[in-house]
């Protein structure tokens, strides 16, 4: 069963990779100015780096992931500074804090919500007809707790998965190309960023990045990925 669902995953990821590097869905193109200078809470990026094996499966690489997390943190900070955005970084809570579990679950919910938006909201994927074509996904009222504890009006969530072609996979690619004339899938960079209104919990801006280039292990390349992923972030 697992193998078949890995194939489903591969198919979904392949579906996500389009000619365009990014695609955006939003309900607004500017921040709500109820306060003069809205503050964005930068959530820790959910990032995993892995190697694409000869058989086409991804194997998580802890060392690369740590490097990617470090590079993304720097790149996100730099990008928001460049935008002159008022922002603060999320400060992790101690595990015995009553809000700890809720905040952890909001991060996980963002990851799952992104998969559903990716699967159902971007044409040509068959959407959810009950939504009547509207972009109306949310993380719910628990997000207000994030705003209360940080004085922020919005939160920026980032989810990224980067995979790199192993030497075995590269050999398979060459062999498949020479023997059968087919192109086997290589490493991919898939990610999304969501700007969430902390008062309503609604995702007001969502950007999807899907391409076969990029390398989060490298700081310069990570900066380029974040610049691309955050293109069009409401100001």
């Amino acid at each position: 069963m697992n193998t078949s669902f890995r194939l489903v995953l591969a198919a979904l990821l392949a579906l996500s990779v389009s000619a365009c590097a990014t695609r955006t869905l939003s309900t607004t193109d500017k921040l709500n100015r109820e306060v003069a200078e809205p503050k964005i809470l930068l959530m820790p990026a959910d990032v995993e780096l892995s190697e694409l094996t000869a058989g086409g499966l991804t194997e998580l690489n802890a060392e690369w992931t740590l490097a990617g997390q470090h590079n993304l943190k720097m790149a996100l900070n730099d990008h928001l500074h460049k935008l002159n955005a008022r922002f603060s970084e999320y400060q992790p809570l101690p595990q015995d804090d009553p809000r700890y579990d809720t905040f952890q679950q909001l991060q996980k919910l963002h990851g799952v919500t992104g998969v559903n938006i990716r699967t159902y909201a971007f044409p040509p994927a068959p959407g959810l007809p009950g939504k009547d074509g509207k972009f109306n996904w949310a993380l719910g009222p628990a997000t207000s707790m994030l705003g209360e504890s940080t004085d922020a009006q919005y939160a920026l969530f980032v989810w990224l998965r980067d995979s790199y072609t192993s030497s075995g996979r590269r050999a398979m690619q060459i062999a498949a190309s020479l023997l059968f004339g087919i192109q086997l899938q290589g490493g991919q960079q898939i990610g999304y960023a969501s700007l969430v209104d902390l008062k309503t919990g609604e995702i007001v801006w969502f950007n999807l990045l899907a391409r076969e280039s990029g390398d989060l292990r490298d700081l310069a390349s990570a900066r380029e990925s974040i610049d691309t992923l955050l293109t069009g972030l409401p100001k």
Binding site: N2, R6, L9, L109, N116, L128, P129, G130, G140
Partner: protein, 204 residues
């Protein structure tokens, strides 16, 4: 990534072969023998295993109708390991390495809940589904059981759910709703309760 996303992708894959239909508010005929009323708009689809409705996506909120599981059948046909056993292995007289958990018309209410939690946990890539509460209930007037459950699949997003089950004409009718514990469960729970309460089952 692959491992952690599997349960979510299983829910998506479960629904991948059929196209979604809009379920507008009003009476909805699910089959010749079952209909419900909804006050909200859903996206839904159905096949031989039953019907799935969602508002934000099957990974986030899901209302599932199992309508008339016969004696000796599994919750989902894909879970019938004996029937789906590779035919070459069958020819070689090789048995599958596991056995299916099947509904029996003689099951007690507790056993029905266990049948559900075991089958659903297996579908979610072998995660334990914890029963949090059980109480006598009825489904369209037929005596049955109501249960609440929770589980955390490998995507690490905790899900909560509840369901109502009853045996009618020796067949199992089980409707359950689940959603992310941090948001979706509470968001649509009241509506799910109303839909389940509105279920009408035609006997015979």
């Amino acid at each position: 990534m692959t491992r952690r996303l599997l349960p979510l992708l299983m829910l998506i894959a479960l629904t991948a072969c059929e196209s979604w239909q809009k379920i507008p508010p009003g009476a909805v005929k699910l089959s010749d023998k079952a209909e419900v009323v909804t006050s909200q708009t859903w996206s839904g689809q159905g096949d031989r295993d039953g019907f799935i409705w969602t508002q934000d996506g099957p990974g986030m909120d899901t209302l599932v109708f199992h309508l008339g599981i016969k004696d000796g059948k599994t919750l989902f046909e894909s879970q019938d390991v004996e029937k789906n056993h590779n035919f070459i292995l069958k020819l070689m007289n090789r048995q599958p390495d596991q056995i299916s958990f099947r509904f029996s018309k003689t099951m007690t209410e507790w056993e029905i809940v266990e049948f559900f939690t075991t089958s659903w946990g297996k579908l979610m890539d072998d995660v334990p589904v914890k029963v949090e509460a059980m109480a006598p209930a009825s489904l369209d007037g037929h005596p049955g059981i109501r249960f609440q459950y929770s589980y955390t699949p490998k995507d690490e997003l905790r899900r909560r759910g509840f369901g109502v089950a009853a045996v009618v004409d020796d067949k199992l009718y089980l409707v359950h709703y689940l959603g992310s514990a941090v948001y979706h469960f509470d968001k649509n729970k009241a509506e799910a309760e109303q839909v389940i309460a509105s279920l009408k089952i035609k006997k015979g």
